[in-house]
């Protein structure tokens, strides 16, 4: 079972109960001002954004093959078998490559702290062990956010689309984006109209880097052999030239001696 979330934008009423519940789980203060900030930050790890009559949800998407996990030089991020992408703040040195690489701009940094860390949703991974849904799903009065197994949620999403023709656009956001995510979305209008990036590649992002990184061992091996070879050859050529006297030094025409 791989834990995932399904967010149905057509059901969301924008009450922000999910934000409030999430903040209370992390022990973060929540008030009117924070509610009005429609962006993920160290102040809140999930946010509901308003697009006229419609809403969208932003938080960590818990990619199947996450960019943050692959780029972190100290391995502070882990994609757990259970689904969530979790962060270990004791390893983090603050290079912020995760933030630069994340296609959803999910990791937030504590810019004003002297001991800054990254904040991001962890899909309530501690509650997962107890079989409980995430706080955001639990608190949602409209069942716009539900927790479940990813495969089950995909089936549920398809069922909703089939049973309500015309109500949804024919797309489950997160099914394929950057190799798939553990947060899935449904919408009544094209996703780019409610603030989601629809230009993301289908390929998982770590592959773009691995295409190059995988050549490192070969580069080192071939490189050291080649350099040693060049060293040996040029040293020998020089020896020969010296043995043959100055007449044979045509290749060193830059030297005046």
């Amino acid at each position: 079972m791989a834990r995932a979330i399904l967010y149905d934008s057509t059901r969301c009423v924008g009450c922000r109960e999910c934000e409030k519940a999430c903040s209370s789980r992390w022990g973060l203060p929540y008030d009117e001002l924070i509610a009005a900030e429609e962006k993920v930050s160290v102040k809140k790890l999930v946010t509901i954004r308003t697009h006229g009559e419609r809403f969208s949800r932003k938080s960590c998407m818990h990619c199947q093959d996450p960019a943050c996990v692959s780029v972190c030089p100290v391995g502070a991020f882990t994609k757990t078998a259970a689904g969530p992408v979790v962060y270990d703040g004791t390893k983090c040195m603050g290079c912020r490559y995760c933030m630069a690489a994340c296609p959803f701009q999910a990791p937030a940094y504590d810019w004003n702290s002297r001991l800054p860390k990254v904040s991001k949703c962890d899909l309530c991974s501690d509650r997962a062990a107890a079989g409980k849904p995430t706080r955001c799903s639990e608190s949602c009065p409209a069942e716009a956010t539900i927790t479940g197994d990813r495969d089950d949620l995909v089936r549920e999403a398809r069922k909703r689309m089939a049973e309500n023709p015309g109500q949804y656009v024919d797309k489950i956001y997160g099914l394929q984006e950057v190799g798939g995510t553990s947060v899935l979305m449904l919408s009544g209008v094209p996703f780019d109209q409610i603030g989601y990036r629809t230009d993301l590649p289908v390929r998982a992002l770590p592959g773009y880097t691995w295409d190059v990184l995988k050549h490192i061992p070969d580069t080192v091996t071939v490189g050291s052999v080649m350099l040693s070879g060049i060293y040996w050859l040029t040293a020998r050529r020089q020896k020969v030239a010296e043995a043959e006297g100055d007449g044979a030094r045509g290749f060193r025409k830059g030297v005046r001696s």
């Binding site: 002297r114 880097t209 005046r256």
Partner: protein, 395 residues
Amino acid sequence: MTRFLPKTFWQLVFAALMAASAYVTFVRFYHGLGSSTNLNDQFPWGLWIGFDVLCGVGLAAGGFTLAATVHIFHLERFKPIVRPAILTAFIGYLLVIVALMFDLGQPWRIWHPLIMWNPRSVMFEVGWCVTLYTTVLALEFAPVVLERFGLRKPLRILKSVMLPLVIAGVLLSTLHQSSLGSLYLIMPHKLSPLWYSPLLPILFYISAIGVGLAMTIFESYHSSRAFGRQLEFPLVKRLSEVLAVVLAFYLALRLVDMKSRGAFQLLESPGIERWLFGLEMVLMALPMLLLFREKIRNQPRAIYWCSVSYLMGFMAHRMNVAITGIESASGVRYTPKWMEVVITLGLIALGFAVFRWVTALLPIFSDEEERPSIAIKVKPMPVRNDAFQTVAPVR
């Protein structure tokens, strides 16, 4: 006491920068990155990464370029400039590490990648390479210090391992000069196609080699002004020829790559990007075209300005990748805070000061008195002082 007070204009500038940097250092570490930079969740990498790290590492490329030229390719005639190049590289890398100490959220954990591995991360590789290569540079530079104090035994030991050290240095540089480009491979969605390319690592590597050559010409010119010591003009000329070829190769690859990805159509859309792209291209193409002319290559001053132009073009490219290209593709705006600029300028000033200080103390420009390194029989190079004399009379 008064002898430590700044006297000349540049000493005054230096003192002012150091004082301002000290203040910014306090703000940075007492109040955090939020108060000292204009970085935010949408734009997490700014001037310190774009300039201090990307350009800084690139500008230090002369170290491995010349170490390879002289110690591996046995082009001995370039020997007189190996030491200044290695010194520049060593200072450069140390400054990059200092810059990282400002930029990292928790710099006291900078050693974490050494024990907490993630081989899938480009940053992990860069971290290891920078650590190892800085060590290699320290060892490549150590003979100068040992010579100064006449420590023959450690000198002998060091020279016996110099070849593997130089090879390691070249490989490490190859890996991480290119890796700085690989850092951006994972952001096809965040970097404008004017700069994003699967060839980024190769483009970064070739342009770094060009910088190695250009920096050597640049340094040679300035050390002639400051110390009355310089490179023989035929060597400078030769370097400029190689630079022209490297630039031609780089530009051809860059343009063919852009064409194959259809990136040129982006130049039709209005905005600052196309102008900054144009600036980068002109600053690189102009010196290439000029340096292919024999007439230009016969003038020391022209060679110098061509190198300067390329160095500016190189910096424009790195800044475009790190800032312009990211801004335009992710729709965020970033202007560095004055404190970020102060630290950057302060580090540059520190670099110049340390270079001058070390060259005054240690035999950087003089010929080696000791026996030659790694099996190379060195014929003493005749000292010619007329190299850059048309431009800078020796004091």
